[in-house]
């Protein structure tokens, strides 16, 4: 089986400060990988390099494109990369306001990607928007409301709908439940789990919340100071951590 994403030697620094160093892994279709680590461990830098938001200093991100098979997204032309970014990839930001157009209605937010790839039928776009609002459990009656009138959890679900409407195969998530109430987090996690399963999505989730990765991620990468210190099946890493840092991380979580 061909990996959907094959990452080799991903390295990025900011002057003398190391972002991430020599990170390599393969992600297979339908796999969900978590990346955990403390603030400054390089996990967000890595995610942004993978998603094409940052240019890495070294390394390659080979993506198995629909049309042309495996291609290095680091060296492909910008129009191609941006096209991937709004069709076959999705990016869920921690702050919904970074991933939504706050001045545009919920329907317009969901419809934007469709219009970007050439859909020119209003009724059709609106139909898709209603369908997606339903799938992320937002009342269709809110379709013409702006996201500023939504709760934090609803905004995050709207961001997910906006991202998934084009049927992407790979989703990048940066702390998708960060900043949400615990009760809202659970609902969002359940929703994400269902979407990942039903759409056969592959996903890379950056978080510092071990509970999130336990529920969502098949496998886990633990980062410290820009490097991967441990990598494996999620419950194995969490229940039988091998590296000193992972042991510290796991034992630091308060038990409830």
């Amino acid at each position: 089986m061909t990996p959907l994403l094959s990452v080799q030697g991903m390295t990025r620094s900011y002057g003398n400060h190391l972002g991430c160093s020599d990170v390599s892994f393969d992600l297979y279709p339908g796999e969900v990988m978590g990346i955990v680590g403390e603030s400054g461990s390089g996990k967000s830098t890595l995610l942004n390099c993978l998603a094409g938001h940052l240019t890495p200093d070294a390394g390659s991100v080979i993506y198995d494109t629909r049309g042309h098979g495996p291609r290095d997204t680091v060296t492909m032309s910008e129009p191609e990369r941006r096209m991937l970014g709004r069709t076959d990839w999705a990016f869920v930001h921690q702050r919904a306001s970074d991933g939504l157009r706050m001045g545009v209605s919920a329907g317009g937010n969901v419809g934007e990607r469709l219009m970007a790839i050439g859909n020119r039928h209003y009724g059709d776009i609106r139909g898709h928007a209603i369908d997606w609002l339903d799938r992320v459990e937002i009342d269709a009656g809110r379709i013409d409301d702006r996201p500023v009138t939504f709760s934090g959890g609803m905004q995050q679900r709207l961001q997910i709908a906006r991202n998934l409407v084009t049927g992407p195969r790979l989703v990048f998530m940066d702390e998708p439940t960060g900043g949400l109430d615990v009760s809202v987090q659970a609902r969002l996690l359940d929703l994400l789990r269902g979407l990942v399963r039903d759409m056969g999505l592959s996903a890379i989730i950056v978080t510092h919340d071990l509970a999130v990765v336990r529920l969502l991620a098949d496998r886990l990468m633990v980062m410290k100071s820009g490097r991967v210190v441990e990598h494996g099946l999620t419950d194995r890493v969490l229940d039988d951590p091998q590296h000193a840092y992972t042991q510290l991380l796991v034992s630091s979580v308060l038990q409830v």
């Binding site: 941006r82 709004r86 329907g107 317009g108 934007e112 219009m115 020119r120 039928h121 013409d144």
Partner: protein, 283 residues
Amino acid sequence: MSGYNFAYLDEQTKRMIRRAILKALAIPGYQVPFASREMPMPYGWGTGGVQVSAAVLTPEDRFKVIDQGADDTTNAVSIRRFFERTAGIATTTATRDATVIQTRHRIPEEPLREGQILVYQVPIPEPLRFLEPRESETRKMHSLAEYGLMHVKLYEDISRHGHIATTYAYPVKVEERYVMDPSPIPKFDNPKLSDCAAIQLFGAGREQRIYALPPYTTVASLDFDDHPFDPSRADHPCGLCGSVETYLDEVIMDDAGGRMFVCSDTDHCETRQNAGYRGKDAG
């Protein structure tokens, strides 16, 4: 006219602007940056259009200026006087007789012909500005022809009003490539942009951009398959000349709410009246 270089601007500046115009004509609809000069009038009064006119005018030209279709409003009169004084050129109010026409917010009703130049005054040249405030991002969107956002604006219109409620500065796509703001002309005028025999030049002074449509350029107004573009006009004949084909202004006549509809293009209306056409309100 002593004391001024021809058409106010120095020759180097005019050459710089002409280069921008030539580039703009070579890439229809693309916004070319230029080093806009301070003009002896405030921004918003047509400084971009005035600089473009200054760069294209020759001593043999006959110059016309309209503001919302009228030759006799303050803005039109002052720009016409400006070039009379600084270029000593002939002026006219007749569309037919003019070789260069500077306009704010209208395209003349009379079809333009080859050899004429129509200069638009543009306040905000960037059609994507409404939804994407970052200039770096809008430039990238133009260069990659990523125009989904433009339809988001139209989508928002329909979702809020049931139809596309944008009535002026209605976005267009030029030769299936660049999305362009046609300046705040009524959407009624949009069809005249396309396949026009004259050269159309757009100048934005404050924003320092020039863009252009060479003669016979295809210009399409953006729309949806199920909400096609509709260049609507008020459903009245002109009160003065009786035309049912022109763009109308609504004029309030008295404190009792009396009103009349008249052509916004004053030259066209007068030409028709002189030819014997009469509307119901004509004296």
